[in-house]
């Protein structure tokens, strides 16, 4: 068990390391001079040279990478150009907002998508199920920024029930959460339906049914028990992805989270901030992934971590 966790932690660290290294290389490969980005287009040659020296941009690439690694391990990623504050601190201040949004969205998704998927699997190929099926296809086909703007128009502009942007009151959480959840519900409910249908067709369920086990027990205990792991994994992966992937929705609703921060950092070419954002989100995503794996034995007692698990 401990060995397994250590191994997974090592893998996770490697992923994070590779990610930030990729970002380092990309930033250096890209056309455009970070010094110009920092000093502005009107800077003189002397000023540019000074900026390069200050940030070590005049050093050989290998040496720059070495310094970058040292910064990485001390957690000191430099000062954000546009915020004039330690980059990592700027990101961490935004993080709670993204976490709140992601948590609310995943909860809403789970509460709606799991019963919906079960419902669909209980009456396959009926007209109602077909209707819901087509609806879920529509749900996963609408661009989320567009859904967001539409919800915003209706429920913040035309009928002002909810605030249009920012996060001043808790009601501001509603529209972005719904926007994210529409897509996720469509995806997860279809997945639940698929898993449950497979389990309903399995021989063990026929045996249980012929023994006279109640229908509700068949559904929730037998079939769901065996669908729990894939469904939980899907929800967890979605959650991990949301920690860095709600960029679009955050921009639409001017949500003060990490997603809108990265867009701003990219627009202003704020390199320390870019690296810090990627680092923080990568660590989070890997951490959540690890937690999901560690939770498997709770869901399925047959699983013993480190033995059967093949990463």
């Amino acid at each position: 068990m401990t060995k397994y966790i250590l191994k997974r932690l090592g893998q996770g660290l490697l992923t994070v390391f590779l990610t930030v290294s990729t970002v380092f290389v990309l930033v250096r490969l890209a056309p455009g001079d970070p010094a110009v980005a920092y000093a502005g287009p009107l800077a003189t040659t002397e000023q540019l040279a000074k900026v390069r020296e200050q940030f070590g941009l005049d050093l050989p690439l290998i040496q720059q990478y070495w310094i970058f690694l040292q910064q990485l391990f001390t957690g000191n990623l430099g000062t954000s150009y546009s915020f004039q504050a330690p980059a990592i601190q700027v990101v961490l201040e935004r993080l709670p907002y993204t976490l709140t949004l992601a948590t609310a969205s995943i909860l809403l998704t789970a509460v709606v998508a799991i019963p919906l998927g079960v419902w669909m699997s209980r009456r396959p190929d009926t007209k109602k199920e077909f209707g819901v099926n087509v609806l879920t296809i529509a749900g996963q086909s609408m661009p989320d920024f567009w859904t967001g703007i539409m919800l915003l128009t209706f429920f913040a502009v035309l009928i002002p029930i909810f605030p249009a942007s920012g996060f001043a009151t808790w009601s501001a959480l509603v529209l972005p959460t719904v926007t994210i959840a529409i897509l996720q519900i469509a995806l997860i409910s279809r997945m639940v339906r698929r898993e449950m249908t497979t389990n309903f067709a399995a021989p063990y369920l026929t045996v249980a049914r012929s023994r006279g086990v109640r229908n509700s027990l068949l559904t929730w205990r037998y079939a769901m028990g065996n669908s729990a792991i894939p469904v939980f994994t899907a929800l967890g992966t979605r959650f991990a992805a949301m920690l860095n992937g709600v960029v679009v929705v955050e921009v639409v609703f001017a949500w003060p989270g990490v997603g809108s921060l990265i867009v701003r950092a990219l627009e202003t070419r704020d390199y320390p901030l870019i690296v810090a954002t990627v680092l923080v989100t990568a660590v989070l995503a890997v951490g959540v992934q690890l937690l999901i794996d560690l939770a498997y034995p709770l869901l399925d007692p047959r699983i013993r971590l480190g033995k059967a698990a093949t990463a």
């Binding site: 990309l26 190929d125 099926n133 086909s141 661009p143 067709a201 992966t237 990265i262």
Partner: protein, 316 residues
Amino acid sequence: MSLSDTAVPPAGGPSGLPAEPPARKSSPSAVTKELIAKAGATRRRAGAKFKIRTGVICTLLVVVPIVLAAFLPLPDPSHQDLAQRLLPPLTEGHLFGTDQLGRDLLSRILHGGQVSLTIGVLAVVVSGTIGIIFGAAAGYFGGKLDSVVSRLIEAQMSLPLLMMLLLVVALFGPSIPVITFVIAIAQWPEVARLTRSMVLVEREKPYVSAARILGLHRVQILIQHVIPNVIKQATLVVLLLLAQAVLLESALAFLGAGPQRPFATWGRIISDGQDYLTTAWWLVTVPGLVIAIMVVGVNLLGDGLRDRPRRKKKGA
């Protein structure tokens, strides 16, 4: 499956039931037409058919005008006419109305759609090719190659994807090749994973051993015999990825990381229209609907093709 209690023999076939109710002498089977029509399998087939048809109609509804945009009697998409700013749809010959600079919205959507579609199709071709090659090789040869490819897939799936895409586009400029490449890179793991798992199954089948005994080279077996057996399902996934590619491109364009030349794409048109939400609803609503209709179409088509019973009755 729902069929557990109403097993239905193929239509018209003899059921072979010994005890036949005398009242139904005319029919050779106790299974009536109504029962067949009600059976899950029939409904599933009808559902698949409906999905495929609707999917094709929705897709063509958007794709055909886009392809023919150059031949349609439309104003130039970048022609500005400040006297005709923000006209609502269906006025003065502007089917979808005009935008804040008096440009014809329909023309902008169609020309922008050409760019969006080109990017989507190219990206999917690239990611499909990479994914099938890597996935098939990993699944068939196994060993070190497999573990390298599998690790790559895993690593990429745990990366902050959209952020990396934005980063690449922001750094290298929003040109069509860069965006295409970025979307392709984002999508290949999906294809590779699926191809790999299918090849793993296929590899164990007798025909592969037969080919091996006949002395065929491993690569030849893979290319000539294994891949043709998995390519159909793999292309089905690729079709669904096209829908995703179009969505991804529009999201990038919405965030300002879309191509500007030759024409602004859908996401960009929507993000421009945001400023006129209260005065000109059509600037956001219409392009969004166009994206949604097309993506729904492609998704329905892919779903319908997947639901369709594998074996056709009348010999293909």
